[in-house]
Amino acid sequence: MTPSPISAPRCDRRPRRPAAPSSPPSRSRRCHGLADPVAPIAVALITVALVTVGLVRPVAAELRIDVTRGQAEPVPIAITGLAGAPPSAPAVGRRLAEVISADLESSGLFAPLPPARFPPEAGSRPDTPRFGDWVALRQQALVTGQVSGEPDGRLKVAFRLWDVFAEQQLTGLAYYTRPNNWRRVAHIIADAVYARLTGEPGYFDSRIVYIAESGPPTNRVKRLAIMDQDGHNHRYLTDGRTLVLTPRFSPTAQEITYLSFLTNKPRAYLFNIDTGRQEVLGDFPGITFAPRFSPDGNKVIMSLATGTHTNIYTLDLRTRVIVQLTDSPAIDTSPSYAPDGDRIAFESDRGGTQQIYVMAADGASVRRISFGDGRYASPVWSPRGDLIAFTRIHRGRFSIGVIRPDGTGERILAESFHVEGPTWAPNGRMLMFFRETPIDGGLRRRARLYVIDLEGRREREVVTPMDASDPAWSPLIP
């Protein structure tokens, strides 16, 4: 018996925001999922167990996917319906497989086999698949699994990922959860498959907060809305009576900082997803906007406009201490911390037009990094630290691009009449943004969210119930 090379269980994920000594145990420390925001009291949603089996034989060349590769074909993978039909969720095995397939397919790295092409009785032997059937279908990876009902009402969902040619299990995990939480388990399994085959963290167990839009351009109704990264479990967080903009998640994905016109002036606010509580951030002598959390979640960095000057400040959420980081007569805004918190990217028109600058976290060592044609705005530092996404305006067109923090390697990924608001997938391998298109002779706008890979090759729409803008991708749910 050789232990399976299983990726770390989710409970090993390092908490990003240390709990204060007096606070209750941080949810992120437990081996449980983030509570469903609709039911904040729900805890212990998911527990994890390892599934181990004996290996058939050792392998020479391991199945491995390079997420940075260029034109290579997506890896063929068969994701069978999970066997078993607990009375509480009779169709859940098939639906789990559908969500896992959709997640993996959306990454562009995998080509899930359509179920219509499955061999007879596919998935009926989740612990001893007939590898020859899948080899004949030219599949490289296989996901099998089982669903069963526990006496306490929970579902037990177990899956195994197989290397078809090596006839070897690559990973296997089991999860216990409430039946209505099955989609989250599917995303967690998709992340486990992605991580095992690419060697990089997945990003499917994550959420999007964005601005849902309706109404004419001159009186647009804008609401905070939240959904899973695949568009499901959608709900509105505000009622639309107050104009809201530019939401961003906290590192624990439990809070959102955003811009609200509650008092008829732009001010940075904090929104607690579990409680729905909203509070204004800081007592500033002017309008505040462009708020984002620091990587440790202890501070919010934002712009304060006083008179014709706009500078960048931090507010410590515990001590309420305010620190001014830039001091120029220009517009300094759209700050974004590097993931290690040591540096900050921002935009400034101090040189005449909007350009991207990088400075130390204390405001020292300011250096311009964008020198291409046009204006460069709204930098967003990748969670991997290696790239900064931006919005460019050039010859009346907007584009989304990426650039290295040292100013090299600039690439444009999408260009349109209006694209704006890039946000990174938690693993830094995909970008989401919004695109706005004039319709009806320019009297109305259509606005939608899109995800694109870092080669700019494959773009897909994220379906939302109405017009959508200002997306922000959460970290992986703790």
Binding site: T218, T308, A377
Partner: protein, 175 residues
């Protein structure tokens, strides 16, 4: 009135050679600054205050917009006041002196061709420029608040140069 403004903006753009945004001239619409012929010159005449309309309450928003002009317009990515804007603000100052109990908020706005957060700041610059001018004319700063809506509340819905010119504005709103 609104139609007249649109027509004059169109004329102004024609006079300026219908300049198209260049490399860096795309953030807030076209760079079109016409001395003495700003977009807000529309039909307001040279008299300090227009004729009183008996149906309009003196000192109200309707009074301000019908007799004085409640808004001024800006060039692309600009917050300096044109000659026409100054003329409108001269009348606003006279009107504010006539109604000393009226307090106002200056709302700065931008067109849709800039990024969202930059435009919040640019709108605030425009509102601040208007407030500073009124204060310089002797209106107490305590009567004048400022805010910015960036590109969130355009005055007109169109996606063309004339619409963008009309949306680059600061509106004086009676509190």
């Amino acid at each position: 009135m609104r139609a007249a403004v649109v027509v004059l903006v169109g004329v102004a753009l024609v006079l300026a050679g219908c300049e198209t945004p260049g490399d860096d001239a795309s953030g807030d619409g076209p760079t079109t600054t016409i001395p003495g012929a700003g977009a807000d010159a529309g039909g307001l005449g040279r008299a300090p205050l227009g004729p009183v309309d008996a149906r309009v309450t003196p000192g109200s928003q309707a009074d301000l917009s019908s007799r004085v002009g409640d808004r001024v317009y800006f060039g692309f990515d600009r917050y300096d006041l044109t000659t026409a804007a100054r003329a409108t603000l001269d009348r606003q100052a006279a009107w504010l002196r006539q109604f000393p109990n009226v307090a106002v908020t200056i709302e700065g706005h931008c067109d849709e061709r800039g990024t969202r957060e930059y435009n919040i700041a640019l709108g605030h610059r425009r509102a601040t420029a208007v407030k500073s001018y009124l204060v310089a004319l002797g209106i107490p700063g305590s009567r004048i608040d400022t805010t910015s809506f960036g590109k969130e509340r355009p005055s007109v819905a169109g996606s063309d140069q004339a619409s963008w010119a009309e949306n680059r504005r600061a509106v004086t709103v009676v509190n």
